[in-house]
Amino acid sequence: MRPAPPRLAIRDLQVRFGGRPVVGIAEFGLGEAEIVGLAGESGSGKSMTTLAVLGLAPTVGATVRGSIQLDGLELTRLSQRALRDIRGRRIAAIFQSPATAFSPVFKVGSVVLRALRLHGMSRADAADAAARAMRQVLLAPDLLDRYPMQLSGGQLQRVAIALALALRAEVLLADEPTSALDVTVQAEVLELLRGLREREGMSVLLISHDLAVVAELCDRVAIMRAGRIVEQGPASQVLSAPRHEYTAELLAAVPRIGAGPGVTG
């Protein structure tokens, strides 16, 4: 799938943290209805890239230089006020631990409705949109009446995705969305993300340390190491014939059923 022109375009991005460069990306694009993986180990700068795209890097004390464009709109020059309108509504994000996305003292529905109202929906429209989005992620709308602790991790992650859907976000940043989930639940969430791209035309940036998860979902992949992209290209190509040694090392670390020497009992 050829991204032309990219919905999200990163050029000459430099993120510095405590005077140290932590991310340096020359060029990276995410096309319409495309799923691109950003893969690497802990500390490779994947999550800092997410924060930079969301305009949240300064809140953790990092400085951002370069260009991040959403459909041609330069995000790095926007005021925090203007960014707030884009965050959530046009660029949504889900994180590794869905529990941190919801306050434990509020019903998940009240968090979802408040977000929809903040982005300008009437009370009635918000309730409709929330119920519709819940069905899209294959959850019963009445789960909105529960508290986060009454839902499983997989259900909570679905509610977080439902919020992105209800806001009709164009880009979803999914930062290790399944790393805290059981493999069975992971398979469901990956299936759900695949469906969102196909039915809603959503563009997904998937951040993951697990190349098997990238292989399951992504059209293209960029391999990050120490803040830089060492290799990028179509996922099937990069993962079947890696050109960079580091990509090969990451591939070798993926556990495979029955691949090992095996032990005899």
């Binding site: 499983s152 059981d182 190349l211 292989a215 399951e216 993926v254 009992g265």
Partner: protein, 340 residues
């Protein structure tokens, strides 16, 4: 086999919740690995905690270590058992004191069991750090100065410091990225032979037991769904749930993910399990009998294989595989059918 650990008919209840319901398992003297595989809520961690006596009481059954009833141990015998059986948890951040240097944390374990006079303790700590692949200089560092994988190595070093014969590894790599995970698994593989360890590897990812465990038990809602030699069990599962766990593992190779069994819904509430087979509401092969009759764990197929499924023989012969290959994976279908 001579069992190092023998769990028979273990039951653990928390109020109305049957966390573990009649489970029997064995760990042979090391080097030997038993894999315990299942989703959240399957009871696998509760079994691990019961084994190292972190639960005040059992609701039923027995845990025997080298023949002795673990729950009956008192005084000196209990302290000896606490040395002999150690546990490593998922998150090393919760088991290491953030204000204590790594060396002090490990020395504390040695001191608690009076295993090394103060003069020798520093040398023992350096030896243990080297054994788990860390620089001995880490002894003077604090946990936050280490990566997650390094902290997990420290937790393993501390467990090893008291020379255990049984190790319970409760999701030891779930909080780590895949590269750190591969290194920890390699370490466990080395220690099992060097130390002749018997261990239980508790995990939700069935791909991790293949290289490290001779035997594997698959748990669902507090019961053993099936058990047997790991290689055979993974090659030819006898329980539909094992098929689901096995095919849920993400694959690099596109061909390997052709036939995936995705289970509809969530595991049922353990406080009010469904009648009959607890798996039937999510099972693609369920027949009327499954809704009324609880399947006993019984031999099926080659010697050593046990399965709690009325249709175990059919699953072994590939009934589910045929159903799966007939059902091409489709995106966006309702979850209802179970097969996608």
């Amino acid at each position: 086999m001579t069992a190092l650990l023998e769990i028979s008919d273990l039951s653990v209840r928390f109020g109305p919740v049957r966390a573990v319901d009649g489970v029997s398992l064995q760990v042979a003297a090391g080097p030997f690995g038993l894999g315990l595989v299942g989703e959240s809520g399957s009871g696998k961690s509760t079994i691990g905690r019961a084994v190292v006596r972190l639960l005040p009481a059992l609701s039923g059954g027995q845990i025997r270590f080298e023949g002795a009833d673990v729950m009956a141990l008192r005084g000196r015998a209990l302290q000896d058992y606490r040395r002999a059986a150690q546990i490593v948890f998922q998150d090393p951040d919760n088991s290491l004191d953030p204000r204590m240097r790594i060396g002090t944390s490990i020395r504390e374990a040695l001191a608690a069991h009076r295993l090394a006079p103060r003069r020798q303790a520093a040398g023992r700590v350096r030896g243990l750090l080297t054994e788990v692949g860390l620089d001995p200089g880490f002894a003077s560092r604090y946990p936050h100065q280490l990566s997650g994988g390094q902290r997990q190595r420290v937790a393993i070093a501390r467990a090893l410091s008291v020379a255990p014969r049984l190790l319970v590894l409760d999701e030891p790599t779930s909080a780590l990225d895949v590269r750190a995970q591969a290194r920890i698994l390699a370490l466990i593989g080395r220690l099992r032979t060097d130390r002749k360890l018997g261990y239980m590897l508790i995990t939700h990812n069935v791909a991790l037991v293949g290289e490290l465990c001779e035997q594997t038990a698959v748990l669902y809602l507090g019961r053993v769904a099936e058990s047997g030699p790991t290689g055979e069990l993974l090659r030819a599962p006898a329980h539909p749930y094992t098929v689901a766990l096995r095919t849920a593992v993400p694959e690099i190779d596109a061909l390997a993910r052709r036939s995936r069994l995705v289970l509809p819904g969530e595991p049922p509430d353990a406080a009010s399990p469904p009648p009959g087979c607890v798996f039937h509401p999510r099972c693609p092969l369920a027949v009327p009998r499954c809704r009324t009759e609880v399947p006993a764990l019984r031999p099926a197929g080659p010697p050593g294989r046990l399965v709690a499924c009325h249709r175990g023989e059919e699953v072994l012969r590939g009934a589910l595989g045929r159903a799966l290959s007939l059902t091409a994976p489709q995106t966006g279908q309702a979850l209802g059918s179970g097969l996608r």
